[in-house]
């Protein structure tokens, strides 16, 4: 097994040279897959570390932020039990965002909202994990979710109509959510174990952005630009995750200072085109297809897709293998294992022709 080493992932993000191996770059793996890969349920922080290290990742992700608080999870989302996993006879719970009218539709509702207490957020995982990490492994702090929490709180339709009816309400909510997440970000950076920050904030779907670039440039990107400036000043690297077609704002994403972009949804962005156009300025992570290959394909098809991506994208560095979103419960374990094993098999530098 290849020894996990955050320097490998860091080298990919810096694009200064080729690392020893192409790293894995998933930021989320469903508990069922973790259990299958580890051979036991993942219940404790020790289990989490064991999973990420033995699965071949160079980091352990730890998430915190407004998106994990009750105002989002209990008040703005709806949970559905269904058979989502392909390899379990039991149902699983999945939370769904409010796409209609959300919790905040008026200024009065914004003003009366009980915001979570920033000081009450739980950072114990960050505090405890240091001694548990393998020697060369770091934590990636997972945050982002500024645009996402705004529309989760307002509902996507609610936010959209408010942009016509009360644009100041939307602007103020962006400011409040941004400020909340910024304070979380500041706290995350105080932990030495954190090697990078991963901002997950979907702004697009398969064919285009969800909202106009102007809205993002006024209300969203300045937050990430500032967070990334501070992260870099403190020696941390930064990755941006968004699904969908980002071509219209690729220059903005790069200007924000992101070192890496994930997950490069295949239906939305052709990864070779993205690498050619932007790969010298931002590293590329992902693209192993969840629409078919990882979910409904065979392990052999997964291996072949990983081999092809490594062949095409890894020479010169700046590429990490990952799914085209996260690794959800409906990926067969054999396919998840095939993705990882193929990465180790084909990802040793120099990359074979």
């Amino acid at each position: 097994m290849i020894e996990p080493n955050f320097e490998r992932f860091r080298t990919v993000l810096l694009r200064s040279r080729e690392p020893d191996y192409v790293p894995l770059g998933d930021i989320g793996v469903h508990a069922l897959l973790k259990q299958g890969a580890l051979g036991r349920p993942v219940r404790t922080l020790e289990d989490e570390v064991a999973f990420w290290a033995t699965a071949g990742y160079d980091y352990v992700p730890i998430e915190q932020g407004l998106q994990l608080t009750d105002v989002i999870k209990r008040q703005s989302m709806r949970e559905v039990q269904a058979h989502y996993a392909v390899e379990s006879s039991e149902t699983q719970a999945r939370s769904w965002a409010t796409e209609g009218k959300g919790l905040i539709t008026t200024r009065a509702e914004l003003e009366s909202l009980q915001w979570p207490d920033l000081d009450a957020l739980d950072y114990s995982a960050f505090e405890r994990i240091g001694p548990l990490l393998p020697p060369k492994v770091k934590v990636i702090a997972v945050l982002g979710k500024i645009f996402t929490c705004v529309w989760w709180l307002m509902g996507l339709e609610g936010m959209s109509l408010a942009l016509a009816d009360d644009p100041d309400l939307v602007a103020d909510l962006f400011a409040r959510v941004g400020q909340f997440q910024y304070r979380v970000f500041e706290k995350m950076l105080r932990f030495e174990c954190v090697g990078a920050v991963w901002h997950a904030d979907d702004i697009a779907f398969a064919t285009q952005l969800m909202v106009s670039p102007r809205l993002l440039r006024v209300h969203l990107f300045p937050w990430y630009q500032e967070m990334n400036r501070v992260a870099h000043a403190k020696g941390r690297l930064v990755v941006y995750h968004s699904d969908g077609a980002l071509q219209e704002v690729m220059e903005d994403i790069i200007a924000c200072g992101f070192d890496g972009l994930n997950p490069i949804e295949p239906k939305a962005m052709e990864i070779n085109t993205i690498k050619r156009a932007y790969g010298s300025r931002i590293s590329i992570i992902g693209n192993i297809d969840l629409g078919y290959t990882l979910t409904r394909g065979t392990p052999e098809e997964v291996r072949e897709e990983v081999r092809q991506r490594i062949h095409d994208l890894a020479p010169g560095g700046g590429y990490a293998v990952a799914s085209s979103n996260s690794v959800p419960e409906y990926v067969p374990l054999a396919n998840f294992n095939a993705m990882r094993e193929a990465t180790f098999e084909y990802g040793r530098y120099p990359i074979s022709a």
Partner: protein, 211 residues
């Protein structure tokens, strides 16, 4: 004199109050509801759809325009029935079982309504059985299914099987869409068409009812 160009522009700009005023003014001038729909509101939503396709409009602009369009249609609804007007076609749509993703389906529904179709929206988390019941009861021209996840998308295949078992498959055009859906999957389950965009689905539906 009914100003359909102004009505169209008011819809595009999402000016709900102006849309209601212009629609009401046209009715006051004795214009038929069908004419106001055909010459004002439908061309407006066609233009909105074009702007979405070419990247000038995004989700908010679509929904703001659609809200204004619906305000106009609300004034015409009963009159259209009185005039004996028939919709261009009838569509049953829904998001599949286990899936609560709404927005794509809602955009398709709004565009279809703006295109003169009658839309029956079953909502989200719709079991195959409910889709079949709706096809049986409402006799639509189209059944359109949406999904966000690869795992929930598979329920579309179950619905196709259920339609066949109920002897209804040949009575309806089936369309599929959503983030994980591809032409390959559409072909695999025997659906009639797939569109990656809301406007594409409406365009295809218009083509098929014109045949």
């Amino acid at each position: 004199m009914a100003d359909y160009e102004a009505l169209k522009q008011a819809v595009i700009e999402g000016k709900l109050v102006q849309v209601k005023e212009l629609t009401q003014r046209a009715l006051s001038e004795g214009k038929a509801a069908q004419e106001i729909l055909d010459q004002g509101l439908i061309p407006a939503m066609d233009a909105v759809g074009d702007k979405f396709v070419c990247g000038e409009f995004y989700i908010p602009e679509m929904l703001i325009a659609a809200r204004a369009m619906q305000a106009g249609i609300a004034l015409l609804k009963l009159l259209l029935v009185e005039e004996g007007s028939r919709p261009r076609g009838k569509v049953v749509l829904g998001t599949v079982k286990g899936d609560l993703h709404d927005i794509g389906k809602n955009l398709v529904g709004l565009m279809l309504q703006g295109g003169g179709f009658e839309v029956i929206d079953l909502g989200s988390d719709v079991e195959p059985r409910r889709f079949v019941e709706a096809v049986q009861a409402d006799k639509p021209d189209f059944l359109m299914m949406s999904a966000l996840l690869t795992t929930t998308m598979l329920s579309m295949k179950d619905t196709m099987e259920a339609l066949k078992a109920a002897g209804l498959r040949e009575r309806v055009h089936v369309a599929v869409g959503g983030a994980p859906v591809t032409q390959r999957f559409c072909d695999e389950i025997g659906a009639d068409f797939y569109s990656p965009t809301a406007t594409g689905a409406v365009t295809k539906a218009k083509e098929l009812v014109a045949v």
